[in-house]
């Protein structure tokens, strides 16, 4: 059973990674980050059930991750708001101040 869970998680992670690297809209990028986090959560839960040493720790840990992800999404969206007010856009490729 474990491999199928892991496969799903890997696919999810790759979609998230693709979105984070390719999408121009910052909101989509944030969503993609959430996707990757959830892929990790899936792994944690899968291993806590079918791993070599099954225990509840993985499931508890995934709960923590969800909490942290919620906080992170809140902060990310807040930053995006601030950025949008400042620059009038949410396109990631226009945020290239680090160039200079």
């Amino acid at each position: 059973m474990l491999p199928s869970y892991l496969t799903v998680a890997a696919i999810l992670f790759c979609i998230g990674l693709y979105g984070a690297l390719v999408k121009r809209n910052a909101i989509i990028v944030l969503l993609s980050l959430e996707l990757m986090l959830n892929a990790v959560n899936l792994n944690l839960v899968a291993f806590s059930k079918y791993g070599v040493v099954p225990s509840l720790t993985g499931q508890i840990f995934s709960l923590f991750t969800i909490t942290v992800a919620a906080a992170e999404a809140a902060i990310g969206v807040a930053i995006l708001f601030a950025l949008f007010r400042l620059r009038g856009t949410v396109n990631v490729d226009e945020f290239d101040k680090m160039r200079r």
Binding site: L17, A20, L21, V22, V92, D93, F95, D96, K97, M98, R99, R100
Partner: protein, 623 residues
Amino acid sequence: MEMYSQAAWLIPLFPLAAFLVLTALGRSFRRAGVLIGTLGSLAAFVLSLFIVIDRLDANTVDYNYAFDWMKIGDYTLRIGFEVTNLTAMMLVVVTLVSFLVNVYSAGYMKNDERITVFYGYVSLFTFSMLGLVLSDNLLSLYIFWELVGVCSFLLVGFWYAKPKARAAAKKAFIVTRIGDAGLLLGILLLFWYMPGHALDFTTIQSVFDGQSGAITTGITTLIALLIFLGAVGKSGQFPLHVWLPDAMEGPTPISALIHAATMVAAGVFLIARTYDIFQDSAAAMETVAYIGGFTAIFAATIALAQNDIKRILAYSTVSQLGYMMMALGLGSLTGGVFHLFTHAFFKALLFLGAGSIIHAVHTQNIHEMGGLGAKMKVTAWTFAIGALALSGIPPLSGFWSKDMILTAAFETNPLLFFVGLAAAFCTALYMSRLFFLVFTGKPGAASSGAQESPVTMTLPLVVLAVPAVAAGFVETPWNGWFGSWLSGEAEAAHGSGVAIVASIAVGLLGIYVGWLVYGKGSVSRTALADRVPWLVKLLERSYYVDELYAVFVVKPLKLLGAILIVIDEYVIGGLVRLTGIATVSAGRLAARLQNGQVQTYSLAAVIGFVIIVIALVGRRFLP
């Protein structure tokens, strides 16, 4: 007993202090600058005089003080000063001439803008020369040896606005450099072979005592010849004599101080100081003797045909230095040093006299002078004394020292004896030519407005005339006081009637011939030029040595330089430019990666991560 000798280290410090003060504050005062320079050399002279008086007693021992300069591994380099009778004599000669030149320059350089700079340089030179004399080892001697070379360069090129002075300064520096390189090699060889790597003169003396055999004869000869090469450069011996006549572009007091009395005698002093090395090698001694003898006659014949008063004296200096070298090579240390001693006084006198004449007539061509004797009495009389001393007329100082050299040659090497006699004849001839052309006869083109120089210039002439007359009496054929004082061993009375008679005869004959041609005029001046024009031309152009060097040394070197410039420009410079271009374009490329797009960066990070994973995982599948 040697109370003053212990304070000898103070002597160079007086001129050094004068130099430092003049350099720091010189521009703000003019008259006081002259005073400071003169006082510095006067103090040095007084202390030197005390030392010599202190050492006149026959039982004085050499005083040496040295301290550890640096420790390298097991080797300790000691440095210090040493007062022997030879150095004491040199101290007096250097400081006396330096002091008188300081006094003289107050008049001669009076209207020069940079007179305080001049005094600073003279003080620096005096300091370096005294340091050279006092050095107790070859290494510090070499340091001061280079310092006097620098001072010579600065002072020859003092009027650097004149292109000729600039060229002469460079020539003087570069030509003596050839000799200096030899000296440095000699010192390094000596350092390598000496037991304990000692370079101080006391140890050198004990190692090269002729029987210890610590160093083989071949190496000894090599070391001696390399040291002699240094002396050849500094003392203007053939074939490195070419810089000395050109050095006359410098101010005349400098010619008297550096290029007649002191620095050029440093070569003779160096050989006298390391005489034990030379005595261990017959081949080196012979080389010194023959080079010296050849230079003596070679330069004396050139002086016959020169028309510039300072160039005549310069070639005369070269010739007299050749005499000293010849004496040293013939084994007569006393003769060489004695001639150095007397020559310093009368040649400085002659140069200062020439300076006084140039100051009055503003030309250096002796054919434009004439009839100056009546107008410049003091200069004429003192110049006559110097000329007679140089020509070797008894009882003036030059006679005794030249006679001693000729006697040494007569006893050991007849060929060099005749060379010496011929050179003595030429010396008397060119000096009488110079004297009669300048001081007697009809007034020349430039001598109309001439008048006697101020007392600051004539006083040194009078003072120098005294030793020029009397300095010879310290060593006469029946009184070997100077020789025994110098070497510390009782010397038997020497002297040979033949040599004395011959030397007086050629001296008088030379003056007589000079008088016939240039004084009385009973022989036409152009008699020789009409019969053998090529010979006169040859002498006028100094045997075309400069031209030969230009063709065989300077031109090839310039060609080599041009080639090296091309290599430097296109090969070395090309490499440098290539490195620059490569770095800049690499930077441009890297800058393009830095586009500020966070997503690109993370993409790069992901690609890197994937590569690492592939590498780590792929390793498993490798055999």
